[in-house]
Symmetry: C2
Subunit: 331 residues, 2 copies
């Protein structure tokens, strides 16, 4: 029989209905990439820098670059300036001001995050932090999200390793809802609900995948989808924007380990990486705790999920965690 | 430049960033199905009735059936009985009681909703209503959703026409949120926000696709995805459970027209059908208005959507509505 579990950080229930057929398979060795190290047609490859808009950041400042940030050529949002609300009757609209940037993570067309060096992944996370803070500091910006789409099912068609940061002139519904739940929890219990979750996950142990010096990786108790993974700072931090250099390095270490294990344990799935964070120095900083989430695209949300907002997960997080721990060990 | 639009029924903003390449294409004639009328391997085909659990409803009661309802062999939820909350620390869980049924919509393996007769589609909608009401009447059930997954991208692998009804022992987050917004709107304005939307859509006309005697089909002002379509009763009704026989017939007429137009205008996309409804006789019945929504799967939600809960839509609803109206006219 299935069970329902409630995510204490959102108060939403998920239906956990594990199926034998959907069980994690044995770790497999995957063939290496057949991509070239450089693709002449790729706008993100070295030598094609003129095919992107002018860069807003590069590492290092001169010479051959390791990381570049450019405005998205197909920006969903862009430009500064006022964002007055308009519209008629019950309808409201406003101009799409904001920012939408692409982080080109490496000059190597055939690189993958799980194979990139610790230094390379650390560089990318530091660039995320810098652009996240700079975009949030722009007038009129209310929220920003750093994310990565890995593979077609995760919403990308460009294989050259890249991620994105999108900054919006309105608050984000999913973040608002999480902040509300966390604030109410803090008000009632005098403690951050995420800190409670981290303590409970460590005590249970069954869903933990890896622990670094400053970060814990685990499958959440009420995982919405197979192999959903959270990486959380083990000391209380409400904003990704406040991460320091030592922390980015430890985060990179844990992230690489999780991604390599995921690749072997779950058959190299497409996935999204998303930073769930409050803006820095918010009043909710005691109540909220940021996380970096790995969201593999191993299932398709159907009519029920779309209509109800409730998920049906066919892989128990304890089974997924076991498979990931084993894959990490045999690496 | 893109614009942001707010859905007055959820107060959520969507980013509307139309792209030339994503524009609706010209209506096309599609090849007819190459499926057989009956497939010996299909558990939903006549002659294979013993491959499903015993039916809970059939039309007609005896002789050859036109519609059958059976419990889902892979039930996400099932069984009656109490649903006590358990769990330790911050974690809550409960047994997965509830109902999960499959509506086998026709004996014909190769049928499609847009090609089924008016009588056939009407039959299916009446069966939805009956099972929706019966599941909601069971002890411990708090909510139910009738939905259909058409095609692989919409979450199904069985081609034989079927839909599902899932009844849960907890409220559904998306419905709760819609009821809250509608109730607050009613409290402030003394009117159902959906009635305001229907009046405004009729007055604007640019997003209307078809109007029956009792139903209006339109692309909502703040469409989340390309070709998202709402079909709403034109007189105030809060629950799908209260639909009468004349209304099911008119709804079937409008739905068939929308699905046929969608097939021609948008290249035969996979889609979900979902009934967004309050349970019958709720206290919110003045504030809420049920809709049947057609949600084509023409885009992939990526990291930003997953993380923020905000959508980026690349097709303006006015363009989609124009294409659908033209496809409906040249039928």
């Amino acid at each position: 029989m299935s069970t329902l579990r409630q995510d204490p950080t959102t108060r939403q229930w998920v239906i956990l209905a594990p199926r034998r057929a959907a069980r994690p398979h044995e770790p497999v060795e995957l063939p290496r990439s057949t991509l070239p190290e450089r693709d002449e047609q790729c706008p993100f490859c070295p030598g094609n820098e003129d095919q992107t808009p002018p860069e807003v950041l590069r590492l290092p400042d001169d010479g051959a670059w390791r990381v570049r940030v450019v405005p998205n050529l197909y920006s969903a949002l862009g430009g500064d300036g006022p964002a007055p609300r308009g519209g008629a009757g019950p309808f409201r609209e406003m101009p799409g001001v904001g920012g939408h940037e692409v982080v080109i993570e490496t000059p190597h067309h055939d690189a993958r995050p799980d194979e990139m060096s610790l230094r390379e992944v650390t560089d990318v996370l530091r660039v995320w932090r810098r652009r996240y803070l700079q975009l949030l500091a722009r007038p009129g910006i209310r929220a920003a999200v750093a994310f990565k789409n890995f593979g077609r099912l995760a919403g990308t068609s460009l294989v050259h390793p890249h991620s994105q940061i999108l900054a919006t002139p309105v608050l984000l519904p999913r973040m608002q809802q999480r902040l509300e739940v966390a604030t109410r929890y803090f008000d009632e219990n005098g403690r951050c609900v995420y800190d409670e979750v981290l303590d409970a996950e460590r005590a249970a142990g069954t869903r933990v995948i890896a622990e670094g010096e400053r970060f814990l990786a685990f499958e959440p108790f009420a995982s919405q989808t197979p192999f959903e993974t959270w990486i959380a700072p083990t000391t209380h931090r409400s904003s990704f924007g406040d991460i320091d250099d030592g922390e980015t390095r430890d985060l990179a270490r844990v992230l690489r380990r999780v991604l390599a294990a995921l690749r072997r344990a779950a058959g190299d799935p497409d996935y999204n990486l998303v930073v769930f964070s409050a803006p820095p120095s918010e009043s909710d900083e005691d109540a909220f705790h940021w996380t970096l989430r790995v969201l593999p695209r191993l299932s398709t949300p159907a009519g029920f999920e779309v209509g109800s907002g409730m998920s049906i997960n066919t892989v128990a997080p304890e089974d997924a965690a076991l498979a990931l721990r084993e894959a990490a060990r045999t690496e």
